[in-house]
């Protein structure tokens, strides 16, 4: 018998529906497409918005934090410094804010038809990777311009660490998804968090070295911000592309371990909530 399903109470606490997700891969791709396409339907500039947002943010940061507040960028041209920092951060905040409301926004759908619920946040994670790729392209364009045509570009030295880029992107996606799953499971029950999470993301950005370099923190205390996995992700992006960052192997390992824990705990919590959440909404 090709299809056999058993439904019973309280399945094992760590139940990864890998086979089921594989069965529903067509749905996954269609959802990725929907997420990407529907977002900018009936807009004049369409997918250009994926690019405009980080560019405008970089402009604001340059004016506010570089020109007015004069926060150091470790000698890196400020536009490159912020663009590079925003690369990982934009992906995180967008993926987090969408996945963290998975249960609440999809309750009408989840209440009517079964499919592996993990498909929905997974599709968001993947469709945001497309936006990430666009941003990466823009950043590389700026990087090439600064390197080739300006003297300020001399401070920038892309390193061979760039070979680890795929791994760093996996860590970034796993972290954003893991935290999003956590919060989505909690908001399914406690709606307080929907109000809190948008605010927390804002605060977390200041706790992550997006607008300042980690080198501003005394060396003895750098492990503390590194507990936030986004800290080392952002710093490692800078190390790869700009060659100027505080990214020791120890801090990176710490960050990776935290990411793995968040990811696994997020999946466990999500799967636990998935089973009966429809009784509580």
């Amino acid at each position: 018998m090709s299809y056999q399903t058993t439904i019973r109470a309280r399945q094992h606490w760590l139940h990864l529906p890998v086979k089921e997700i594989a069965d529903y891969r067509d749905l996954l791709f269609l959802l990725v497409r929907r997420d990407f396409v529907a977002k900018y339907k009936q807009t004049l500039l369409g997918p250009l918005w994926f690019i405009i947002q980080p560019l405008l943010t970089t402009l604001v940061f340059t004016v506010v934090f570089d020109r007015v507040a004069q926060i150091s960028t470790d000698g890196i041209p400020s536009v490159l410094f912020y663009l590079c920092g925003l690369l990982g951060w934009t992906y995180f905040s967008q993926t987090f804010s969408t996945t963290s409301t998975t249960f609440v926004t999809n309750a009408p759908l989840f209440g009517k038809v079964y499919f592996p619920r993990l498909i929905v946040p997974l599709s968001v994670t993947i469709s945001n990777l497309l936006a990430f790729a666009l941003n990466l392209g823009i950043f590389l364009g700026f990087l090439a311009y600064f390197k080739l045509f300006t003297s300020a570009g001399d401070a920038v030295h892309p390193t061979t660490n760039i070979l680890f880029l795929p791994l760093l992107i996996i860590q970034l996606a796993a972290t954003a998804l893991g935290v999003g799953l956590w919060v989505s499971a909690l908001t399914a029950k406690y709606r307080d968090l929907t109000h809190l999470s948008a605010f927390l993301v804002q605060l977390l950005m200041y706790a992550t070295p997006v607008i300042y370099p980690l080198s501003r923190i005394p060396t003895d205390w750098q492990w503390l911000p590194a507990l936030n996995p986004m800290t080392m992700i952002v710093e490692n992006f800078r190390l790869m592309f700009l060659g100027q960052a505080t990214a020791s192997a120890a801090l990176t390992l710490l960050s990776i371990s935290v990411s793995i824990i968040l990811f696994i705990a997020g999946i466990v919590l999500f799967q636990k909530t998935e089973r009966t959440f429809i009784d509580t909404v």
């Binding site: 018998m1 299809y3 056999q4 399903t5 058993t6 439904i7 019973r8 109470a9 309280r10 529903y24 067509d26 749905l27 791709f29 269609l30 959802l31 497409r33 929907r34 396409v37 529907a38 339907k41 009936q42 009408p108 759908l109 989840f110 209440g111 009517k112 038809v113 079964y114 499919f115 029950k189 406690y190 709606r191 307080d192 089973r275 009966t276 429809i278 009784d279 509580t280």
Partner: protein, 415 residues
């Protein structure tokens, strides 16, 4: 292949009564605090389903019958994996698709074409399966001119048709259907029923929940009766429907007032087939007695009682009223009167109707009981032809004749 396609073993489901679990942090904290102080949990649990077990064989079309709140929908939700049982185990040997609502997951910004694929995938179809059936689906829905228009520009009828077309072209081994036939107009409902019939004739296994007993009896081969969360009967559709109609557990087939007041009110209302006992099942073709006990604060000879009969779509089919019987005169009586009304073979087809009562005393509206009880009409033999009747909502006694007359040429044109 001797194994059943669906095996249900000891399924129970309980819910927390009251506010379902803690819904905010402060609530969670106060609950935890109370528990630490040794207080017992205030919320009681409610068992929506208790120890349900049954088997479904390949090719069965199984109806699930029960009154509102009996637990039918909970059972379907568990079978379609939307929620988990509290105890028990179910084995499903085949691909399952559940149709708990038409049009689940349509995205208004996407075109009809994109939505067909997305909706099909949500229902568990593979992309190539959808592609293979795409033309058929669009054709069935009749929206081919608009297939590349965003569905937000569709009329609601078009969306529903397209959504049903996708669902109707699913090819699962097990299909779970809940009340989808309740949407749309009469023509659309008939189209749904026809499609359901053709699906079942292909040997699929179908679980079907509906309040439309006519649909259940025409589609299903076997049925389950669920009463207050328990499975009380498994049998042929006729047996189960008969038992359901006769069961005294249903609170809705009669009315009793909750309060003892001094004001004018209807105390009690019951129905029976003429010549039968109260509470007995009424079949299509029976005359119906409706008996209503009324309490009055003082004697009155001006009491008017209107009895409205509505169909499942809330259309008022008829109103019975004492003024409709010129021979009727109310006897001036004490503070409690009993009115009986006989509807002579009302010609209602089988189905569920509801009764509305309107009480006027001395020209003043005293009470309106909107659809306070149901009137269940079971399949029966109206015409004396072994129960045969044709499409329509009403049955009327008919006299047919056949004369041999010389047929004059029609349309004679005179100049």
């Amino acid at each position: 292949m001797s194994q059943s396609i669906i095996e249900v073993r000891g399924i129970s489901k309980s819910y927390q009564l009251g506010s379902i679990g803690a819904t905010s942090f402060s609530d969670a904290i106060s609950r935890t605090w109370n528990r630490m102080l040794g207080a017992t949990e205030g919320a009681q649990s409610f068992e929506a389903l208790r120890d349900i077990s049954f088997d479904v064989e390949r090719g069965d079309v199984l109806g699930i019958v029960g009154s509102n709140g009996a637990g039918k929908s909970t059972l379907l939700k568990i079978l379609s994996r939307i929620t988990e049982p509290t105890a028990g185990e179910i084995t499903l040997r085949g691909r399952v698709a559940s149709l708990l609502e038409v049009g689940t997951g349509f995205h208004p910004e996407l075109t009809g074409r994109e939505n067909v694929f997305l909706n099909g995938a949500i229902l568990g179809m593979k992309k190539r399966e959808i592609a293979a059936k795409f033309d058929e689906i669009v054709d069935f829905a009749g929206v081919d001119r608009f297939i590349d228009t965003p569905t937000k520009r569709y009329s609601s009828g078009m969306s529903v048709r397209l959504a049903f077309a996708v669902a109707a072209h699913l090819e699962p081994e097990i299909l779970i259907v809940d009340e989808v036939l309740a949407v749309g107009d009469a023509a659309f409902q008939r189209k749904c029923l026809d499609k359901m019939k053709s699906v079942t004739s292909l040997g699929r296994t179908v679980l079907f929940v509906s309040h439309n007993l006519g649909a259940v009896s025409s589609l299903c081969t076997r049925a389950l009766l669920i009463e207050s969360g328990r499975l009380t009967l498994t049998g042929t559709t006729d047996q189960v429907i008969q038992r359901y109609l006769n069961s005294g557990n249903r609170k809705t087939d009669c009315y009793s007032s909750a309060s003892e007041g001094q004001h004018s009110q209807i105390v009690n209302a019951q129905t029976r087939p003429a010549g039968g006992t109260f509470g007995e099942a009424i079949k299509c073709g029976d005359s119906i007695d409706i008996r209503v006990d009324i309490q009055l604060p003082h004697k009155s000879s001006n009491v008017k009682l209107g009895i409205g009969i509505d169909d499942a779509n809330n259309n008022r089919l008829l109103t019975a009223h004492p003024d409709c019987d010129p021979d009727f005169h109310l006897k001036p009586s004490s503070d409690r009167i009993r009115l009986s009304c006989r509807l002579e073979r009302p010609g209602l087809v089988e189905g569920t109707y509801s009764l509305t009562f309107l009480l006027m005393v001395d020209g003043k509206l005293e009470q309106k009981l909107e659809q306070c009880m149901t009137l269940e009409i079971a399949p029966g033999d109206f015409f004396g032809n072994a129960g045969k009747h044709f499409t329509g909502r009403f049955l009327v006694d008919q006299t047919w004749s056949n004369e041999t007359a010389s047929l004059s040429p029609r349309h004679t044109v005179s100049v």
